[in-house]
Symmetry: C2
Subunit: 361 residues, 2 copies
């Protein structure tokens, strides 16, 4: 798309391959019923033409059933144990896994055994070994696996990617990206939440939100990092086990450098910029769901800002996944794609320990 | 200043201590008559109430005399040799040194011998040893030395600094900054220019423009870097001897990280952002003289952009220097201040060679 087309069709679903009316909706088992599921995922599944939130899965059957009763399209609520036992498996086609990171693998194992395709929240797992196992389990079970990178279907990010791919910025030279929020003040005040538990989360700000600029840099450049360095820090007692803040740099092929920052204790902020020989594209705000997106571009003597209609990012992501399950086009953010981030993030932690640049496997 | 005062008085010269009508103007010997002097410095000196461009100094007496003839307030043009011989030294009070970096020291030596105060362009010299000698020579001669960091009197940067100092962003957590231009296309197409000569310049993009985000981060945080890492690269043949592009990170006290980028071969771009626990301030565009400044702030749920009247940055800088010479207030960007940047930049080059983080002396 050129800039003129982007203004006219900024929110185009250029990834659609299948008419929703031509196929059956994808029925989901939604595994994990925290605030993100209730506030973000279920409303999107309720609104979707392509998806249904058929079965809700939680530790507590009553909680799951109560939520199912008030969720349009949901048939029933079951427990994690019942999911593992294959209960209600006729009622869903795919599993959406939104548990703590270290529990992803076990639900993918069960889904693969049951022949259910998988949409797994990011990061894939608590470490790269388990993420590789997760990928292999899905492949051996013959089920599709998508890692839930919602930026891949965020229109502002897709349009920025279109511009980079079309040569609008010339040769890409650098990327800067950041994502910050006050986790304990604005998201969840609970100091016992799983995001702060090293075993359940695997990492802190880097795993939870630093992944956004990292993965979106990869998506915009259509390239993978070759080496990284970084530093982690924590100022708040709640972040004893995991990083509160991370600043990292990633080297991409052709000496393109991405410089990224993420913090669970800084003012809400998110943006990503690609600067090239000829121009610049910047999405800001970028990564949080409740802010209208702006795409800032500059080239030659000029600057422009495209204000995009807000979309429901989770709806876009679910519909993309359903489109890929019902059609023949390949899934972009598959297990191999997600594993690159796991290796890169572990290399950033290693670099933070050693004060070095570390090659990404 | 709070935000309300900033909107009302964004371009306030809050550094003024002396009424220009109460003192004699400072008469300058302007040493080095390249495009920056002709396009930026002389127009500012002509416009200033506090300064006069009395004597112009160049390799070629005719060139210097011709330029003096068409410059308001200039009395005559002399050669570099004549300057070193003390010719016309009654006609100026201070020397403004805008030669290639590696020649700064010799003109400071002469100015100090003659008892003339010095405004020296950045970076101080081609390396930190010579920069330290430059500082010492000025001190031993009993003359004032200011390094010409024009961001220190750029109103948008000063207002951003006011906000950070007042606690608007809470505790500062991170800085991002960048400055890029196509040197050979938009500034000077000459591949033999001194900026590309390692001996004359000392460094490439880092020394020439990477210094802006580095020094401005210091100015905004009111702190100095303790460790750095970075990478340099060159894609264009003209940058065989010096870095065309640099990406670097600097650690400041209290685990504040600055991530910076500068390139002589990327699209013109410049900005600097401080993100804190409570808010964010961003100046963008920031460092080039021909773009109107914007100060972007956010805190709580809100965002605002202050559009500042454009000022002549060189006029602000010259007038600040003259105010300090004629009054008693101390100069902020003195030789010690400039030397910190020299050490930090050398540490960045060392880090780029070793793929490590390097402590700044």
């Amino acid at each position: 798309m050129d800039l003129s087309a982007i203004v006219e069709e900024s929110c185009a679903r250029d990834w659609e391959t299948v008419e929703p009316s031509a196929v059956e909706p994808v029925r989901f088992a939604v595994i994990g019923l925290g605030w993100f599921t209730k506030g973000r995922a279920l409303p999107a599944l309720e609104a979707s033409e392509r998806c249904r939130p058929s079965v809700l899965v939680s530790s507590d059957r009553e909680k799951a059933s109560d939520l199912a009763a008030e969720t349009a399209g949901a048939e029933r609520g079951i427990t994690y144990e019942e999911f593992h036992d294959g209960d209600e498996s006729d009622a869903y086609d795919a599993a959406y896994i939104v548990t703590p990171n270290a529990l992803h693998l076990e639900y993918v194992e069960t889904a693969a055994e049951l022949g259910k395709d998988v949409l797994c929240e990011k990061p894939m797992e608590r470490d790269s070994d388990r993420a590789a196992e997760l990928r292999d389990v899905a492949a051996e079970g013959g089920v599709e696996l998508m890692v839930a990178y919602r930026m891949h279907t965020e229109p502002a990010v897709r349009r920025a990617r279109d511009l980079v791919a079309s040569g609008y910025v010339g040769e890409p030279m650098s990327v800067t990206g950041d994502m910050s929020q006050r986790l304990l003040e604005r998201i969840d005040p609970d100091p016992d939440q799983w995001r702060l538990d090293e075993w359940l989360a695997g990492g802190g700000a880097l795993f939870d939100i630093g992944l956004y600029p990292l993965n979106t840099a990869r998506f915009l450049l259509d390239a993978d990092p070759v080496a990284v360095t970084g530093n982690v820090s924590s100022t708040h007692d709640a972040f004893d086990d995991v990083d509160e803040t991370v600043a990292f740099s990633a080297e991409f092929p052709h000496e393109v450098y991405a410089q990224c920052y993420a913090s669970h204790n800084a003012r809400q902020s998110s943006g990503i910029t690609v600067t090239g020989t000829e121009g610049q594209v910047r999405v800001e705000p970028a990564f949080f769901q409740d802010q209208p997106r702006k795409l800032h571009v500059s080239r030659g003597d000029g600057r422009a800002t495209v204000e995009l209609e807000k979309v429901d990012q989770m709806l876009e992501e679910f519909d993309y996944f359903a489109d890929r399950l019902r059609g023949d086009a390949p899934l972009y953010p598959d297990g191999d794609h997600g594993l690159v981030d796991m290796h890169a993030m572990e290399a950033i932690y290693e670099a933070a320990e050693s004060d070095r640049w570390v090659t990404v496997e």
